[in-house]
């Protein structure tokens, strides 16, 4: 649904569940809130840290898609210089 703004008056991704990977290889799934000077603010976030689990990021993402976002952090601020882009979970 390109060009559709989920919450009018906000950025296109505001309120949408997205997938972001940081420069250290951690993967975050959560609701995008906004991009600020400090970075990207997300709410209700699940985190995959390859250093902390033997499960691959792909398997972990598949689990989030099937069973829903397993929230471990209410709010996360990610630095703007992300390794990858921001993708909608539904598109992953």
């Amino acid at each position: 649904m390109s060009g559709h703004v989920f919450h009018p008056g906000h950025e296109e991704l505001h309120g949408v569940t997205v997938v972001v990977q940081d420069a250290e290889g951690r993967t975050y799934v959560g609701r995008y809130h906004e991009r600020t000077a400090r970075g990207i603010l997300m709410h209700d976030v699940a985190v995959h840290d390859p250093a902390a689990t033997p499960m691959s990021a792909a398997d972990w993402l598949a689990r989030q898609r099937k069973f829903g976002v397993q929230i471990s952090q209410r709010h996360v601020m990610l630095p703007g210089d992300l390794a990858g882009g921001i993708r909608r979970l539904i598109d992953v």
Binding site: F6, V16, G68, V69
Partner: protein
């Protein structure tokens, strides 16, 4: 904290007028989901204007399909807290989100639409996903 009932009443009515039975107490939930027979759809309603605002009309379109669940229920997240928690206990493998839609067959979850699958989708898209599930799991 629940919203003013005057605000959510139209959101409840949007489903009840489709003959979706609203479950407002634990006893009402247990009476139907605790004795599962056939196919049951549970719509977890929400005040979220953007997601639920598309999901409710999406369900309305889907329920016009020739193949439908045998029974359709709703609980209201953030409003009827105990009933919603109890309903979610019947699909506890799935993380809570609202709105969301569960389809059960003889008590087993056979299809689940999470909030992330509703965000940004229009009613027709949501209806298409639901009717595909109805065809797969509700056909005699």
């Amino acid at each position: 904290m629940p919203y003013d009932e005057r605000l959510v009443a139209p959101m409840r009515a949007e489903l009840t007028r489709l003959d979706v039975k609203e479950l407002k107490t634990v006893a009402e939930v247990d009476a139907v989901l605790g004795d599962p027979k056939g196919t049951q759809l549970v719509f977890v309603n929400s005040v979220c204007g953007c997601a639920a605002g598309a999901a409710r009309p999406g369900l309305a379109v889907a329920l016009q399909h020739k193949v439908r669940p045998e029974a359709n229920y709703s609980v209201f997240a953030g409003q009827d807290l105990e009933a919603t928690a109890r309903a979610r206990s019947y699909f506890a493998d799935y993380q809570p989100s609202s709105p969301s839609i569960a389809l059960l067959r003889d008590g087993e979850v056979v299809f689940f639409m999470h909030r992330y699958q509703i965000e940004g989708q229009g009613p027709q898209s949501i209806a298409a996903a639901l009717t595909a599930a109805f065809d797969q799991y509700c056909a005699a």
